[in-house]
Symmetry: C2
Subunit: 399 residues, 2 copies
Amino acid sequence: MVSKVRYAKRAGTLKPDEIREMIKITSNPKVINFAGGLPAPELFPVAEMARATGIALTESGAVGLQYHATDGYLPLREKISERLARLSGVNADPADIMITNGSQQGIDLSGRLFVDEGDIVLTESPTYSGVFNALKVYLPEFVGVPTDDDGVVPEAFEEILKRYGERIKLMYVIPDYQNPSGRVWSVPRRAAFLELAARYELPVVEDSPYRELCFEGEPRPTLFSMDKSGMVVHLGSFSKILAPGYRVSYVLAERSILDKYIYASQGAFLQASTENQVAIDKYLELCDFDAHIEKIRTVYKRRCELMISLMEKEFPESVTFTRPKGGMFALVTLPEGKNARDLLKTALAEDVAFVVGDAFYAAEGVVNTFRVCYANMPEERIEEGMRRLGKAIRAFAAK
Amino acid sequence: MVSKVRYAKRAGTLKPDEIREMIKITSNPKVINFAGGLPAPELFPVAEMARATGIALTESGAVGLQYHATDGYLPLREKISERLARLSGVNADPADIMITNGSQQGIDLSGRLFVDEGDIVLTESPTYSGVFNALKVYLPEFVGVPTDDDGVVPEAFEEILKRYGERIKLMYVIPDYQNPSGRVWSVPRRAAFLELAARYELPVVEDSPYRELCFEGEPRPTLFSMDKSGMVVHLGSFSKILAPGYRVSYVLAERSILDKYIYASQGAFLQASTENQVAIDKYLELCDFDAHIEKIRTVYKRRCELMISLMEKEFPESVTFTRPKGGMFALVTLPEGKNARDLLKTALAEDVAFVVGDAFYAAEGVVNTFRVCYANMPEERIEEGMRRLGKAIRAFAAK
């Protein structure tokens, strides 16, 4: 037994990530689990990835098994650069791109580069809970910036920028089909946001894993492509549109900033998997990735519309929820004064689960929201799950 | 252009990793490069890994492409546990093991858990330069502990423990066939070291990537297996004995400490590649891993013996060097007052390269050593390279 371990101060912030722990709790197949955030496994192109991986390994020989430079496999970065130009209007050289072991690693690196103890990190309110989990080890203070259905509210953002001034060192945002709300920022809001961020010289991390999972028309332009300050760092990923088990995401940033990400990565983890990189590169070469994404988009859209229609039918009027235009999640809001953590107990008794929303807020003390994921569930289970959840909410409301 | 970026204080420590940068400089095929630390690519079991990977993906279906719990793929952790019991006398449950994206990530996590600004981190003198690169972002003071051919010198270690007391928060060691010296600690030295570490309640990170690359007899028992304090964290890896391009390494630690590594990993990178994990698991199931390691061992031993015999022949007597008993590296020491960085210029003019040793020392100011890697070079190139290096050293000595 360990007698006495003297950990670093930041280790005191560490506890199990609630969502990942929830995955364990809800592994009981009886539970209809809206809590997870996993992509639909039945849509994974398993055979195509197996084929592409095999060909990549055979063709690249020892390359796929060997160490690689930290910035990443050049043919893959070239293909990412081409995709960004074609689909996102982003003019990025492969040298502006570094491959990471998932975008969570990109968030951690951002904290490492920008956040000292006591600094302020801004997030949307609500935001992805994993950003707190990644950055809290750098011991900042988190401040949530009010949002509505169109994105960050500029007046509220400006007030916060004025109030905290140079203490603010970083802002983390998900403008496209956000986790947990499914919301997308309007173009005017993007412009207003960037104008303010540039005026206050604020580095912005634009996390963009859901951008291509849009349910109508074309995605909005990225903050990175609209920005003129050079202070927007864009995180892209294959996790939600191809396969998260291959850990291939990327950081796109102005060259001098990207260099810092590269140096930080050399110390932190050397490099993302070479094998995963050559495999995804070969998949992009051999397979119809656009058609694959279109397939995901179609299925997720149908599931989303079904879930929304069921929530409209099953939930009392006092319960509101977002109408996602893409992505994987919707956010439900209970009446003021209700605690979603209490509702979860009732829901689990009905064998249905969701993620309590309190983890999505910096320090606003919001306890009456929860997140539901429609992405990875067959329609009949969404129907049965929402029936159960409606029953739980009505029973809970009557308490 | 970026006008003004306010980075975190720790970002000021970041600069390109010299060894990884050196790889770029020496990519000219004319240069005989003893600088790299890459495993021999011609020994990679490319066909077997391609086959195992293909079978793993086909059999595991969506599992290999999906997110996975942070601790790692259980069948793989079970196989690691069996291997540790069989080869290292380590009695470890799979639940004592967490998979990381390479051992560099394990070193970073150790800093995250144990090191506050101003704390002291001990290393062997010399040590793997990547440990400084990983841990310097936690802003410690590094102190090198004197070593000789048998390992850490206990008297010197105790003196340092007494001098700095509770300021010392962590010690990082590579007891087996160390990078950069190829030295292995004797068993009595291991016992003496552990006795002192336990008395001072010092967490020890035992980095062990080279352990199975031993050239004679059996490897010595690990610190982890000899330790009774529960404070030794063991880092194991497939990088040097199978394929570093698959980023699969592991942390083995007492359960309460391992939990902290898991929580820290959830924030830092979520998980290592699922696909890489199922692939290596399948390789271990289908292929003769022991025979593969024996092959590497045989080739590296022959290359090492050749290099040592050539250094004995080509180098002046005033130049000394270690006699590796395993691993990939030897350390050369020039006479006092000489600087290996100056020698490198002469060597590069002869189209031969090595890694200057100053990066292997905490703060001892040693400038007269350099590292040579014999692992990844055919014998005729070792011969030609050592001839050139001998010529450079003699020319340099005559200056």
